[in-house]
Symmetry: C2
Subunit: 464 residues, 2 copies
């Protein structure tokens, strides 16, 4: 086995290894050199790596190896590496390289990267790095931090290339050629009026295809999407995806240009938001592969505690039928089937609903169709599994009435699963609660309680 | 309530509605105009909309409204709308506008968009549209379709702006100005040698910042990441995220440039892959909010069938202890608690593992730490909930031995949940099975069987 990552798709392992600078061989060599205290070898191994690979290497080491690496690397560590580090590793790394080196590295970055890094730090570290920065850069970062967390104002870069609409293509190119502090990466020039209101944008690819005398006003796209700096990053991502945007102007509440968001900034947000939903549905919050044991425990405990409460609620329902179970013990054998099928069907519906809500696919026009479809699915699946589970019960215990009770309870629970699987996320949303976080608990509680109640209740009524 | 989408974040509804062209008011007006058969009104309402909004509108209508809209719009429908439609709506829309109009629209697009659309169609429709296309464009699309589904070859656009390394900035800009079939959107010029091998790339933003006599060889970035056309799109997305790429060259097996992938193509892939994992973990496959009832049923049935089998397996375990339950009916009341807690803890671990695998975060160096952490979490949570559930049982049934059995079974099941929650996805991956798809079934089977077995087994041994 020669792939460096445990990966689901193994076919092109060979091609892959040549695309990633960080191979298991490099990793092993660095670890040996670290153990030997061989500073020159470590530097020779690390310095040719892409900053992303240097960040990856840092993540692969354990804590003592990491601090030794930092000491040995010193100035050889590429400052860009900071932008690729995950939060937990970032703090450790900044502490290791010291506030002054960190501040020097951060000043070199575009403002969105700088803010990305500084917002992850705790107050003390943040202050010590800000204090080491020149006043102008510090001001920019502090202004960025004044926007709410996860807002467009935090995502955006302040460095925007702007031009008035009456400029020609030639004038614009000459102007840009004369600048020496252009942003590292941008795809459009924003066209503004004297009050810094955005009139449109011109993509660089379009600018380059036009003759020098052409005026920007003739080739600019007048894009409707201007993003308020306070907009939540999730909304920004949705807007970018919906309109296939590449760059968008960010404006303040007076409609003046304050920055720009580009599609590459949005990639991370999309990934973050999808991960949040996935984790929330499974009852796990805010973890990384390197979270400490304590952090991981905290992230899991609260959900398990809630689950214990709901499980006890379901058990209380069972407790109501102790007599019935004592007389017909087959009920105890069969009852988890009803609850489990309901829980699974409900989770399916909840997941589809949460995803549709996250993608803003449920409009008032489509919502009725969605609810009706889920209800029908619940009913048809209910019929199918009522028959199947009824047959299983009949052949197992040879009791037709028991089989009928099983069938009716199954049908009821799967219909309830469909109804509450849509109703719960929609209701949570209406009350401003993130449906991804709370839906799973509610749905399993409902299907457990309803499942046990109908099955044991019907049994108590008809079989005794 | 005036927001158009049922949305989790409601704060800036006002700002939002101005950013989306498709408002509930427009929707309502279009529906009225459609019902009145008022063609001119429909066209007046739809034509100012952004193609993405036109696509959204199409999605909000029901099928009869949709076909009426197509007939009324005719040539007013912006061809770009096709690129924004979801698969199911796309087929309906293409059928409504006819193969020739569709072919004319597709010829205008960049090749990646054209292939995106054509690959969604069934064979018959595909052939009829291809037959209506000019030979040159047809060839490009057919070549694109020759790459495997979900590969880099399908994602890429064939239109790439290339230049030799010895050209100057001025020469390059003059050349581009002379071209009239430049791609719609690109961010870099690829620098190639006479054999079309990629030497590096020059970002447009960099090109524009340099003096005319500067040679491309002096300013090009020599990027190591060149993507084989057969690479899976998931790997492409990981590569883009890892190295924060904006454009990457796609090469054939001889290393020659065949196309280019840009970050905006990757956005959709990231979203698609995250959705696949989310849905797979919940046992739902390949659905959209508009899937028919039949498609939805199929997507859910197989998983529920598997779940029925595992639930029956758990019930068989319970069946082994019928006598025990008949004598101590409290066992029937308490046993779902053990199983449910194990299932939830296991799902938490599985989800974290699946996500880490998807992001290629588990290297051989970090994997042991991850397994150990999950094992410790299982053990500590096991102790906490052994005590809690033991106390609950004691106060409920006043039986210390029963409480002890509960505590031990809970501890055992949460440890097993931690162990198998990591072991199952890792093992599935090793055998080339997508861990997102199969892990959930396995983990709940394990925790149900182990939960009932230890709880009832211990009870049979110690309490009778």
């Amino acid at each position: 086995m020669d792939d460096q990552y445990i990966s689901g798709t193994r076919d092109n392992g060979d091609q892959l290894s040549s695309l990633y600078g960080m191979t298991p061989k490099v990793e092993a060599a660095v670890i040996v050199a670290l153990a030997d205290g061989h500073t020159r070898r470590v530097r020779a191994l690390v310095s040719p790596l892409h900053p992303a690979d240097q960040a990856d290497l840092i993540g692969r080491l354990n804590t003592p190896q990491r601090s030794r690496l930092m000491k040995m690397l010193g100035p050889v560590l590429d400052p860009d590496t900071l932008t690729y580090l995950e939060e937990d590793l970032l703090e450790e790394t900044l502490a290791a390289i010291g506030a002054e080196t960190a501040a020097r590295a951060i000043v070199e970055m575009d403002s969105d990267d700088a803010i990305d890094i500084i917002e992850e730090l705790d107050d003390e570290e943040r202050d010590s790095i800000l204090a080491s920065m020149p006043a102008a850069e510090r001001l920019i970062v502090e202004e960025g931090l004044s926007y709410p967390e996860d807002s467009a104002g935090r995502m955006m870069q302040r460095e925007v290339v702007v031009a008035p609409a009456h400029w020609t293509v030639g004038q614009t190119i000459d102007f840009m050629r004369g600048q020496d502090d252009l942003p590292e990466e941008y795809y459009s020039i924003m066209i503004i009026d004297p009050a810094r209101r955005v009139l449109g944008q011109v993509r660089l690819s379009r600018l380059l295809g036009k003759q020098r005398p052409v005026r920007l006003s003739e080739i600019m796209e007048t894009v409707a999407q201007q993003i308020p700096a306070t907009m939540d990053q999730e909304e920004v991502a949705i807007l970018f995806r919906r309109y296939a945007l590449v760059s968008a102007a960010v404006i303040d509440d007076q409609g003046r240009l304050v920055g720009m968001i580009t599609v590459d900034d949005v990639v991370d947000v999309i990934d973050e938001e999808a991960e949040e939903d996935l984790m929330a549905l499974a009852g796990v919050s805010d973890v990384s592969i390197r979270s400490t044991l304590m952090e991981t425990l905290q992230a899991r405990l609260s959900w398990l505690m809630v689950n214990l409460l709901t499980a006890v609620a379901a058990s209380i329902v069972i407790g109501l039928f102790e007599d019935t179970i004592q007389r017909i013990v087959a009920l105890a054998v069969l009852m988890p089937i009803v609850a489990s099928m309901g829980g699974n069907a409900g989770t399916q519906t909840v997941t589809v609903a949460v995803r549709a809500l996250a993608l803003r696919q449920l409009s008032r026009a489509t919502i009725m169709g969605f609810v009706l479809r889920e209800l029908s699915v619940g009913f048809i699946n209910g019929l199918i599994f009522a028959i199947t589970a009824g047959l299983v019960s009949y052949f197992w215990f040879g009791d037709m009435s028991l089989a009928l009770v099983m069938a009716v309870a199954m049908l009821a629970n799967l219909v309830i699963a469909g109804v509450s699987g849509t109703a719960i996320p929609l209701t949570l949303t209406r009350f401003g609660v993130d449906p991804a976080v709370a839906s799973s608990v509610f749905i399993t509680t409902v299907t457990d309680v309803v499942g046990f109640m109908t099955f044991l209740g019907l049994a108590a009524y008809f079989l005794l």
